[in-house]
């Protein structure tokens, strides 16, 4: 819960160090755990190398920027891995667009709510209720994404979202974001469910960040006659700002990588549309939905999408971690 400074490991006093069997066993253990520690680099490097080599012919065939900006996706049937034989067209733009739009909808909806919840739990809730309330929010993080997908598809879209979209379309259909026709599944439906899914992680991190705000500062503000709202807004919020930005970027990373729920709710088309009510596809969802029917060449195309998705989330995550790390490390938790 609190800031954990990097403490130095405790070593045995030097007089006790080397004696017979220990001379082998101790360094061996040390080397063993050090090697496992570095396994994280090996895994990450293997991931990058393996997927990039699989995807390379597609980038050669299409050109890296051609791949990112092309808006047509037709899998070819070639079995060779020579890019000259490829017959498909691979343009990832509709899926990059779908990923960005759904993730942005999710963050725009989830961030204000998460801020409110975090402040409520940390500042306002009776002390007895804090733990149960935070468990309840974290419970939402425990729901498997396939369950979110099913609930969204069978309950939320037909009962809540489709009527809401119909009303939205009739009221603001002239505006380019809300142009009809209304289907139900689409960018907005996927974004709304994503918002629910990333709410717990953002809340958990914002809570960590505002918990480290010094109590003296808050008390000083109260002593000057500030109301509780003013303490939150003018004392806690400004000093937590970079942590909150980091938290929302971590949430954004989650939303970008989420697959199954988006796949069930975004409507799966290979085109893109400026209206949020229309159907589309995201990078992660496209990989999962095209995989089973993909030709060997098509799988390489999906690998290329995967590499782009990886780069995307890497940039977001590294930036977010650097921001959150400045505040203090977040304890290992279900939500994180």
């Amino acid at each position: 819960m609190s800031v954990i400074t990097d403490q130095q490991p405790q070593d045995p006093p030097p007089g006790l160090r080397s004696r017979t069997r220990r001379r082998v066993a101790d360094p061996a253990f040390r080397w063993f755990v050090t090697l496992t520690g570095t396994s994280v680099f090996i895994i990450l490097a293997a991931m990058v190398v393996r997927t990039t080599t699989e995807a390379w012919p597609i980038f050669q065939h299409q050109g890296f920027f051609g791949f990112l900006t092309g808006d047509r996706w037709v899998s070819g049937g070639s079995r060779s891995d020579d890019p000259a034989d490829f017959t498909g067209v691979y343009g990832a733009w509709p899926f990059i667009y779908g990923t960005m739009v759904t993730a942005l909808i999710a963050i725009v909806l989830a961030l204000p709510l998460a801020l409110c919840i975090a402040f409520y739990i940390n500042q306002l809730a009776p002390r007895r209720l804090r733990k149960p309330l935070s468990y309840t929010v974290e419970m939402l993080a425990a729901v498997p994404s396939i369950v979110f997908g099913m609930w969204g598809l069978f309950w939320l879209v037909p009962n809540v979202l489709r009527p809401f979209f119909t009303w939205l379309e009739s009221w603001a259909g002239g505006f380019f974001l809300f142009e009809g026709p209304v289907f139900g599944p689409g960018y907005l439906a996927a974004g709304i469910v994503l918002a629910i899914m990333i709410l717990p992680i953002i809340t958990a991190i914002v809570r960590e960040v505002i918990a480290v705000n010094p109590l003296d500062q808050q008390n000083a503000a109260y002593a000057l006659g500030a109301t509780r709202f003013e303490v939150m807004r003018k004392v806690i919020l400004p000093s937590s700002f970079s942590g909150i930005v980091g938290a929302s970027m971590l949430g954004l990373g989650r939303a970008v990588g989420e697959t199954i729920a988006v796949m069930m709710l975004i409507g799966s088309t290979k085109s893109w549309d400026s209206s949020l009510l229309q159907r589309g596809d995201s990078m992660a969802a496209l990989i999962a939905s095209l995989f089973k029917e993909a030709t060997p060449e098509g799988v390489r195309g999906l690998m290329a999408i995967g590499v782009a998705l990886f780069l995307f989330t890497m940039v977001i995550n590294v930036a977010a971690r650097l921001l959150v790390w400045r505040i203090g490390r977040v304890a290992g938790d279900a939500a994180v």
């Binding site: 895994i43 080599t53 309840t136 498997p144 509780r228 709202f229 003013e230 977001i316 971690r321 290992g332």
Partner: protein, 314 residues
């Protein structure tokens, strides 16, 4: 105070009243105080409403999954396979067995590796290497699970694979293990840090070496906390669907091989059941969703329980 209340309403002009000693009464608000009080009231109400709003989806999901799922779950659900989506008498046996296969493999891979990494970070890790390991472990938690699936596909299944196994429970275990690894590492690290240094020193004072101290003093002391972290990681891994599509592929019949054939899993069966038109199959998908949810919930609650016991012992 009494002086104020003695005043007649007509005399209560704003900002004009004074107490007999010539001061403004404390009750009297001035300037923007009223606006600030209202803003405060409004903001606190908004926060409370937000809290309620945030709990609503969880309640709705719980209610829907329980009401739809209970109808489908019964003895047959756990003992029969699902030859077609259309038949009424069918179940998710293949999925449950497959999930068990995959999870046991993933646990055997992820927990020892994660624990050893955590031991490195807490007991041996110094300087730049340790902070790099820590940082990239954190970054690894953010890698999309579908990308992990693609990687394992490229490593074990595709025609260019280095170690060719084809679609198998092993491939799925590997993918889930990679997803669980950073969670195990980070939670174990936090738990090992909580073991007081006095305990380590006491062990050294008895003549134990560093490796012996770690294995016989630090690990047992942190055991409940380590169990909590591992259970949360398992809870996370068991619900993963996306990487399984690319590694286990799915099977509606019981598969008992680990290293070769395509394997089923509950999340995969839910997904294919939910996306097809037959009523019976969709109902079973709800049953699957309910059982998956219950498994995850039990793991999370058990983890919290073990964790709270651990805090008391410490």
């Amino acid at each position: 105070m009494s002086a104020t209340s003695d005043l007649k309403p007509a005399e209560r002009g704003a900002g004009e009243r004074t107490t007999p000693t010539g001061h403004r009464p404390l009750r009297e608000t001035q300037g923007n105080a009223a606006r600030r009080a209202v803003a405060n009231r409004v903001a606190l109400t908004v926060l409370t409403v937000a809290m309620v709003v945030a709990v609503i989806p969880l309640v709705l999901i719980l209610f829907k999954v329980a009401s739809e799922g209970l109808a489908a779950v019964g003895w047959n659900f756990f003992t029969l396979d699902e030859p077609t989506y259309r038949v009424e008498e069918a179940g998710y046996r293949a999925g449950f067995v497959g999930t068990a296969y995959i999870m046991v493999g993933a646990i055997l891979m992820a927990i020892p590796l994660g624990l050893a990494t955590a031991i490195y970070l807490v007991e041996y890790g110094r300087g730049r290497l340790a902070s790099f390991v820590r940082f990239f472990t954190d970054v690894m938690t953010g890698i999309p699970s579908i990308f992990v699936g693609l990687f394992v596909y490229g490593l074990l299944i595709s025609s260019g694979a280095i170690f060719h196994t084809g679609f198998s429970a092993f491939a799925a275990s590997l993918a889930i293990a990679i997803i669980m690894l950073p969670i195990v590492t980070r939670s174990s690290e936090e738990m090992l840090k909580l073991v007081p240094d006095e305990w380590r020193n006491a062990s050294y004072a008895l003549g134990a070496s560093k490796s012996r101290t770690v294995l016989t003093t630090v690990l047992p002391a942190a055991a409940p906390g380590l169990a909590t972290g591992s259970m949360l990681a398992v809870a996370r891994g068991v619900g993963e669907t996306a990487p399984l599509i690319l590694t286990a592929l799915g099977s509606r019949y019981l598969v008992t091989t680990y290293f070769s054939d395509a394997q089923g899993a509950v999340p995969l069966q839910i997904h294919s059941g939910a996306m097809q038109p037959f009523e019976a199959g969709v109902e079973r998908a709800w049953g699957g969703a309910l059982s998956l949810f219950v498994i995850v919930l039990l793991l999370v609650v058990a983890a919290r329980f073990v964790g709270s016991r651990a805090n008391k012992l410490g």
